[in-house]
């Protein structure tokens, strides 16, 4: 893979400092050592009592790694520039509940914000707007520049502190997009998550969708993925999808929950209660299922899809507590679409590009949403999956902390901090209540595709890993090709890691390019950052 070099070239001036190098008067803004805050962090004494200052949590989270210029205690490292100036805007990546809340909070404190989102309209997944409606439900305060149709495809540290964010704006994957790079000292990552799909025989047939796809198409396009649809997987998110599908006129043949959620919830009622708002929402969906007589079955899954060129039927089966098929329980059901979702996988590319430490597969943050990397905050489903309300609370905390880092004076957002903390407990309770059990591996056949892009079957993966004794993500990818295709392991990563026993599933997200760019785009000269011109 030669992309890292191309990446650096497209970014311009590898090793150079760009405009920042010419600036004077900001000397002294050199990182003081591992874990040191930029000197212009919060004024002493201004820290909220309930929250650690941004970056406080990173002392225990290990060194920032390769993401920052080599720390130089004496401040004399010639390679370290003065860093990004303090007047840079807060840059928020992602326009979902978390990103919007972060942008609002920072802008309210008088800090300029650039909100970059790949969607056509604000809202992210939860508040996905129907893009045919031609009306925007969300207004952001002045001071927020919203860049729709814009993807962040690379991120690099600026010597001396801060990051340079590379983005492209224009029709998705088209050759004519506009490039731009922005420098910032306070970066908020709010890139959200996507559905985890487990493989099963026939899951590569057209007509098999993720639950999120059905949801996005119903909400965003008013399109139903099938006439008669079965939902299968684990977790409460299957319920709103059932509701959306019925709203666009599909017949929902059933909702199959692989786990045993009710007993799981009861183990820790206090944590479950932390998500009471979500419960109200869920109760509403449950009532809808009952009204529509949509069957909801526990310990049941879709274990095969059938059809020549598209789904015509599926096999469902009862599962034991470890998710193995109960022999003899298989039933064939005619459907033209099946939607699966087994929880969510955080969209980690930009966080990993920044060098943020992870915890249990999600971005590790402290109470102020600071990651292990100075000047980088994370909010929303990147840090754990608890739904839209906790994501927004985290966004507000992150946006406030980012603004404070740039010098804004602000009281700690006490209410948001409380909601974010409750949300974290709720997310942990959710994760405990809906674990993915290993028995799904027994659903696979030799010829079941594990990697959809490179069309690597289970048998092939197994053989190539065994024969060549591959350990670790890179080795597994190279010997089997799994994870080397167009999606770069986003879909198969967690599953291949589980099947091959490699320890670091998140390593599948470590890719040089966060979002697809065309080769021609990489060759273009970089566009200067209009925001970062001499101050």
């Amino acid at each position: 893979m030669s992309a890292p070099e191309e990446n650096g070239q497209g970014a311009g001036e590898p090793g150079g400092h760009g405009p920042a190098a010419e600036r004077t008067g900001v000397a002294g803004q050199v990182a003081k050592g591992p874990g040191a805050d930029p000197p212009d962090a919060d004024p002493p004494g201004a820290d909220p009592p309930g929250a650690e200052p941004p970056g406080a949590g990173r002392l225990g989270a290990g060194p920032p790694g390769a993401s920052t210029a080599g720390p130089d205690p004496a401040g004399m490292d010639r390679a370290a520039g003065p860093g990004v100036p303090r007047r840079s805007p807060v840059v928020v990546i992602g326009g979902g509940p978390a990103g919007m809340a972060a942008a609002r909070a920072a802008a309210r404190l008088g800090v300029r914000v650039l909100l970059v989102d790949s969607g056509a309209a604000l809202g992210g997944q939860y508040h996905r707007q129907n893009s045919l409606a031609g009306r925007d439900r969300f207004a952001l305060p002045p001071g927020v520049e919203h860049l729709p149709h814009s993807v962040v495809w690379a991120l690099e540290p600026v010597p001396g502190g801060g990051h340079r964010v590379h983005l492209r704006t224009g029709p998705a994957d088209g050759p004519g997009r506009t490039g731009r790079s922005v420098e910032t000292r306070a970066l908020v990552l709010a890139t959200g998550a996507y559905d985890r799909a487990l493989p099963f025989p026939g899951w590569d047939l057209p007509g098999v969708f993720t639950a999120g796809a059905a949801q996005a198409l119903a909400k965003g396009q008013g399109v139903r993925v099938g006439e008669r649809v079965l939902l299968a997987g684990t977790g409460p998110f299957l319920l709103p999808v059932a509701a959306s599908l019925t709203a666009v006129g599909a017949e929902v043949a059933g909702v199959l929950e692989a786990g045993e959620p009710v007993t799981a919830w009861l183990h820790r009622p206090a944590d479950a209660a932390a998500g009471w708002r979500k419960f109200g929402e869920l109760a509403g969906y449950a009532a809808l299922l009952a009204r529509r007589r949509i069957p909801y079955r526990r310990r049941t899954a879709v274990v095969a899809a059938h059809g020549a060129d598209r789904v015509e039927a599926v096999t469902t089966a009862r599962l034991d507590a470890g998710w193995r098929i109960v022999p003899g329980s298989e039933r064939r059901t005619p459907v033209d679409a099946v939607c699966v979702g087994f929880g969510f996988v955080p969209q980690l590319e930009t966080a990993l590009a920044a060098g943020c430490a992870l915890d249990g597969g999600f971005v590790a943050v402290d109470a102020a949403q600071a990651t292990s990397v100075p000047g980088v905050f994370a909010a929303g489903e990147l840090t754990g999956v608890g739904g839209a309300a906790p994501a927004a609370a985290e966004g507000e905390v992150a946006g406030t902390a980012a603004a404070r880092l740039l010098g804004a004076r602000a009281a700690p957002p006490a209410a948001a901090l409380r909601r974010a903390r409750a949300g974290r407990r709720f997310a942990a309770a959710l994760a405990r209540a809906y674990p993915v059990r290993d028995g799904w591996r027994t659903w696979l056949r030799e010829d079941t595709l594990v990697c959809r892009c490179e069309e690597v079957a289970y048998g092939e993966l197994h053989r190539s890993v065994q024969e060549r004794d591959a350990l670790g993500v890179r080795a597994v990818k190279l010997v089997s090709r799994a994870g080397l295709g167009q999606c770069q392991g986003r879909v198969c990563g967690p599953n291949v890691a589980c099947l091959t026993g490699v320890p670091d599933a998140a390593a599948f997200a470590r890719r040089p390019i966060a979002s697809p760019v065309r080769l021609g785009e990489l060759a273009e000269p970089p566009e200067a950052d209009p925001e970062a011109r001499p101050q």
């Binding site: 790949s118 056509a120 309209a121 997944q125 129907n130 893009s131 045919l132 409606a133 031609g134 009306r135 925007d136 520049e145 919203h146 860049l147 729709p148 704006t169 029709p171 998705a172 994957d173 088209g174 050759p175 506009t178 731009r180 996507y194 559905d195 799909a197 590569d204 057209p206 007509g207 098999v208 969708f209 993720t210 999120g212 796809a213 059905a214 949801q215 996005a216 198409l217 965003g220 396009q221 008013g222 399109v223 993925v225 666009v248 060129d309 598209r310 969209q347 959809r452 892009c453 490179e454 069309e455 295709g485 167009q486 999606c487 986003r490 879909v491 697809p516 065309r518």
Partner: protein, 108 residues
Amino acid sequence: MRRRRRGPEQGGGAGAAGRAGSLLIVRVDGEELVTESGQTVAGLLLALGRVSWRTTRGGGRPRGVFCGIGVCHDCLVVVNGAPDVRACQRLVRDGDDIRTQDGAELPA
């Protein structure tokens, strides 16, 4: 400030699902048809009753939408001669020429 909005948003003032923005003319595998702005290529193709519009490089197997949010790259399609465009992410624009993608294609 850069080009902020284009296409779909210009429809303006339209109500809930179903009410159209402006009308567009596009071609899908050579056939001309009228659609509305704000639709994604995937939304358009699914609404036309198609579930697949690409074949895989290895097995030549049909694929369409899988993740719906730009992650999986199953939904690739050729738009105006450029292959590997994610249909679920691309909004249709007037005059677009949308074609099925066969295996790995080179840009026109």
